[in-house]
């Protein structure tokens, strides 16, 4: 299915065919998003992007391209300089949009005073879950991410991989409709990566929208239905892996990446 490459979609117009077929508001829509940090650095600039509901979407770009900035803008972690962020059609100033998003940040940020189980329970509480529901869900997450043996251990006493698992479990805890994973597989061993892939795929199959950043091109190729290439805080291209290859006249995604980033 060929989806025309668009640098910028006209306001209000659907930016992919998938969206036309589904007719729902996109899971995520950025309109003219600009973030200039206090020291003057531009994180992202006049960024337009629409991620359809139910998509498996990849953000690709070199270090410092603006991927984490974009994600932070969506999750109320930075002050936006200009532009708009809509989540399932609602502006992020509406608090309930935050319940719909599950975020696993690039850097592990766990509460050092809480055990694995408490981390999940308290997160559920912050996100408005009822206690009984949160307890059941926490146990489910602990099973899913094989943290049973460590349920009563505080975060600083976990191994790196276990922390990464807990971070992901926390992101999924409140059953978000849009899961944002910022380099979830960085520094993760082969086995956990395989498990993660299959977990994320299962969530996607159940209708959850996934927004993933990664530096592993083969990971983006295998997992993502659509990929956005970012450089210098701007959107370079956005299409399926096949579409990108065609557009850039490259045989592999590596080829696309090299051409796109060379400008």
């Amino acid at each position: 299915m060929a989806v025309g490459l668009r640098r910028r979609s006209p306001r209000g117009a659907p930016s992919s065919l998938i969206e036309v077929f589904r007719g729902d508001p996109p899971a995520l829509e950025l309109r003219g998003l600009t973030k200039r940090y206090d020291d003057g650095t531009l994180g992202v600039e006049r960024f337009d992007l629409s991620v359809p509901d139910g998509a498996f979407f990849g953000l690709l770009g070199p270090n410092g391209a603006g991927k984490t900035t974009l994600i932070s803008a969506v999750c109320n972690l930075i002050r936006i300089t200009a532009g708009e962020v809509l989540v399932f059609g609602e502006p992020t100033s509406s608090l309930r949009t935050r319940r719909w998003i599950g975020l696993a940040e690039q850097d592990i940020n766990l509460d050092r005073f809480l055990t694995v189980r408490e981390t999940l329970l308290y997160h559920g509480g912050y996100f408005g879950m009822e206690r009984a529901d949160a307890e059941g869900r926490a146990d489910e997450m602990i099973d899913l991410f094989e943290l049973g043996a460590k349920a009563g251990v505080v975060a600083p006493k976990l191994s790196g991989g276990q922390r990464r698992r807990l971070l992901l479990a926390r992101a999924l805890m409140h059953r978000p409709r849009l899961i944002i994973l910022d380099e979830p597989t960085a520094g993760v061993d082969f086995e956990l990566r395989q498990e993660l892939w299959s977990t994320i795929r299962r969530l996607h199959a159940d209708g959850t929208t996934i927004l993933l950043t990664t530096h592993y091109l083969e990971e983006a190729e295998v997992l993502c239905e659509e990929i956005a290439l970012i450089r210098g805080g701007r959107l370079i291209a956005r299409d399926s892996a096949d579409g990108l290859r065609r557009h850039f006249g490259a045989d592999t995604l590596q080829g696309v990446y090299v051409k796109a980033m060379a400008g």
Partner: protein, 254 residues
């Protein structure tokens, strides 16, 4: 509705932190204050004349309890928020569906919990060791509450602005402790020569100590209404400042 549940869990998290670290957060300040009461009160008490109609060992207890409580409220919020920023798990709270005022209040409750626990422990010990009365319980509760809101909020603000652990202790050592010492904890300012007596009236902690002493002993160097008024006039803006930092995201969010 969801935000309220978040507030409850944040408050629970903050009190859990205090309980998990109880030797540092509760025991240590209680022990050091009791040492002050014993050393200053019981040993010097026989040698120092009464302050007004009150015996010296009784006189210093309200001020020492005040000092322990406000320091705890300040230190608690400064360190919990600085740590949350430093470890960046504050993002889990910032990205949650809580209103900024609920975040401010949730953190405040942690500071109040710690300070009240210390205050109650010291009060119980002081009653056992020295017969300290509570003449005006309503004034006492009002004074303590206002004072703690003031200092916990100050802790929140410093925790948000601090760039290192040293900043948080700097304010405690250079501002709060000296002000408490010259705020009439150990003496009645009537005993001070001019101009020190007049200068003492510019010390915000002086009014808090006076209000709390009035609550315990039924007497103070200035009117209870003035003392409560000054404390409230500081507590409200301090709280609003903390609240504004959460709602504007200044310093908390890049």
């Amino acid at each position: 509705m969801t935000g309220y549940r978040g507030l409850l869990w944040l408050a629970r998290r903050e009190t859990l932190r205090v309980s998990k670290l109880w030797t540092q957060t509760i025991l240590a300040p209680v022990v050091s204050s009791i040492l002050f009461i014993l050393v200053f009160g019981l040993s010097l008490g026989d040698r120092i004349r009464n302050v007004g109609t009150v015996e010296y060992d009784v006189f210093i207890v309200p001020g020492l309890i005040t000092m322990a409580m406000v320091q705890a409220a300040y230190a608690n919020n400064a360190s919990t928020i600085f740590q949350a920023r430093y470890d960046r798990y504050l993002n889990d709270i910032l990205s949650s569906p809580m209103h900024p005022w609920q975040m401010t209040l949730g953190f405040l409750i942690g500071g109040l919990y710690r300070a009240f626990t210390i205050g109650l422990a010291l009060f119980a010990l002081a009653v056992a060791l020295i017969a300290v009365p509570v003449e005006r319980p309503v004034a006492l509760i009002a004074a303590v509450s206002l004072g703690l809101v003031l200092f916990a909020s100050l802790g929140t603000v410093v925790g948000i602005f601090a760039d290192s652990w040293d900043h948080t202790t700097f304010i405690a050592n250079i501002v709060i402790l000296p002000l408490a010492f010259v705020g009439g904890v150990f003496y009645s300012i009537d005993l001070l020569p001019s101009p020190w007596e007049e200068i003492s009236h510019f010390n915000p902690l002086f009014y808090l100590v006076q209000a709390i002493r009035f609550g315990f002993l039924g007497e103070s160097d200035v009117s209870i209404w003035l003392a409560l008024g000054v404390t409230a006039a500081l507590a409200v803006p301090a709280y609003l400042w903390a609240q504004w930092l959460f709602s504007s995201g200044r310093k908390l969010k890049a």
